[in-house]
């Protein structure tokens, strides 16, 4: 706690200085000059950002950085990745070590207002849930009174857990285990009744770590809101605009049904004014953002739309359905602001 306070204080000082020095467009000009986007990612979270067997970074968070690189530089591969731990991530952003942080970071008031950050969108809606063995005979989290719960320490997960049980007037016994491998091993060997983390994590643990995934169930209660998204430092509005709209272009493309496969055809043939604006056939959007008119075309061509990115990373790797991350037209929360 103390370290966090000191860090926050330090971060605020720097943020204040940074805000004075930065002029609009400084980050964008810097990126164009150096020729790549420096992107902070998770040190390893399958589906979000993890190195593949060839050591290349992959994931839905990585794709946000690739999209921004495609928009700004025309090449999705012009990204340099800096793997960051949870403790380091904001310092890296504030000190200018990275241009954008795309590391499953929950948007909260304190971070947005106090740490001098700007959230550029929400690319994954997550929430904390519970995983239980079916033989426990529990179908709702409200029946978990007196349960032993395996949890990783020092995360909001641990705090949410305590909050939830207190609010429900129930007791629980936490089994706090630092390492995720050990924590899940403890759960699957029966040392605790319940395992708790974000729902995306629960699903991946169930499919990959359980002897028989069907013996385990994720309870319906989601006890916290975890809107995860890319973050930039406050003070350079043009840069946060570029980051925000690069992500929104991916969602907009999915809404219009533009994919990496059909984008060339769409660009040549589509009469839909929305698609024409998106792909730069009717110009203006790129200029408004200080980018090439082909900015969104490059994103879709090289990275794909939001649905493609989700499918390739989250569904394929973790076996997770779209859920809250479906388009608003399909009952989800992903809703692109109009690009016009």
């Amino acid at each position: 706690m103390k370290i966090q306070t000191i860090l926050a204080a330090g971060a605020m000082t720097v943020a204040a200085v940074a805000a004075q020095n930065a002029h609009a467009g400084a980050v964008l000009d810097g990126i164009k000059a150096k020729g790549f986007v420096q992107c902070g990612v998770n040190t390893g979270l399958p589906g979000f950002s993890a190195a593949n067997a060839e050591g290349k970074w992959e994931g839905i968070d990585v794709d946000v950085c690739r999209a921004i690189a495609a928009a700004v530089l025309g090449d999705a591969n012009s990204v340099q990745y800096t793997p960051l731990t949870a403790a380091q991530r904001f310092t890296a952003l504030q000190s200018g070590e990275i241009d954008i942080l795309s590391r499953n970071t929950t948007a909260t008031t304190t971070r947005d207002a106090k740490l001098g950050l700007t959230f550029a969108g929400i690319n994954y809606y997550d929430g904390q849930g519970f995983l239980v063995p079916k033989k426990l005979g529990v179908s709702s989290a409200t029946e978990l009174d007196g349960a032993t719960v395996c949890v990783e320490p020092g995360t909001t997960t641990e705090l949410n857990l305590a909050d939830y049980f207190r609010a429900k007037g129930m007791s629980f016994e936490p089994v706090v285990i630092e390492n995720i491998n050990e924590a899940t091993a403890a759960f699957f060997s029966g040392r605790c009744d319940v395992y708790t983390t974000d729902a995306s994590g629960l699903a991946s643990i169930r499919t990959t770590m359980a002897e028989n995934p069907d013996d385990y169930a994720i309870l319906p209660e989601i006890i916290s809101k975890e809107p995860l998204g890319p973050v930039v430092a406050q003070g350079d509005e043009q840069w946060s605009d570029v980051a925000r709209w690069s992500f929104l272009a991916m969602v907009e493309a999915e809404e219009f049904g533009v994919t990496s496969e059909n984008v060339d055809k769409m660009k040549a043939e589509s009469k839909n004014p929305g698609i024409q604006r998106l792909l730069g056939t009717s110009p203006g959007m790129g200029e408004a953002l200080g980018l090439d008119e082909a900015w969104a075309y490059n994103i879709i061509k090289q990275v794909g739309n939001y649905g493609e990115s989700y499918e390739k990373n989250v569904t394929a790797k973790l076996g997770l359905e779209r859920g809250l991350n479906a388009l608003w037209t399909d009952g989800g929360l992903q809703y692109a602001w109009p690009i016009r």
Partner: protein, 367 residues
Amino acid sequence: MSENAKLPPLPTGTVTGRAVTWAKKNLFDGWFNTLLTIGSIAFLAWLIPPIIEWAIINATLEPSIEACSEVTGACWGFVNANLRLILFGTYPYDEQWRPLLAMIILIGIICASLGGVKYPSVRKWIIPMWVIGVPVIAFLMWGGFLGLTYVQNSYWGGLPLTLILSSIGIVFAFPFGLLLALGRQSNMPALKTLSVVYIEVIRGVPLITVLFMASVMFPLFLPDGVTIDKLLRAQIGIIMFTAAYLAEVFRGGLQAVPRGQFEAGESLALPYWKSMRLIILPQALRLVIPPTVNSFISMFKDTTLVVIIGLFDFLGTVKLALRSDPAWTKYYVEGYAFAAAIFFLICFSMAKYSAYLEKELRKGERR
């Protein structure tokens, strides 16, 4: 007690007979030792077969998840499939010959330095080897000119990173620690105080704190836009930390050198540095070989802590590989066992080398 009672019984009779004699003397000497022997054998019989069964008999080397899910034993296929990721981390795949070459050069220099200490003809080349070798390694790793593409050091990882952090750490911490030890023994109050404060402060905090400060707090105090490389910060943190411990080891050695030796230096009218170099340090350093190597071994293992600041040392790349595909995640025991084996190999070699060095340097005392 007669002289004969202490001598071992003469080897008589057949090989079996001698074996029985040996066993009686060493294994079944009294009821307590007999009990210990039987207990140990029972323990090993209980422990070893399941391990062999798991690690060899029921294991598979095939680098596929399907093959692994079919066997009951170890899935070495995980290591096999991800070997390059484990060895080199996220270094660009097509360029991985560069860290490989750098690692070979580094190991070559280390071996030549360690083995060549004995021979004056090799010894004079040790410092030039490092002076040339380190920039060559840096050039291979970073690149950026002469046709090699530039690779940021946030992409370095695996065994080369571990070896670079620890060998550069040792090479710089050694002289720094020595200066601190001499400073602490010095008659100059300012120098002495400075050394004492430095040693005590650094020894008083855990390495993880030093690394954390270097990576999280330090950048906040720099002017806007100025960033000092993350790897460099970690490397400096490791050097500073190890030097403080080495300083205390060396001080122990200096204190163990008899007073008369210092006086001998003075009576020969040798200047301070000469007397240190020719008389005191050779004796002091020889005395502290075991604790020095001890410090090196613990520092080598401590380099794994850089994972908390987002650098992937060898252990970090094993974790990276475990997360490369969720299907591999459950084979973490195999991954960590592989890492443990490599770490053991390196640490054991260091321990063996220290034993060898002690023996070599003690030749002068033999009669």
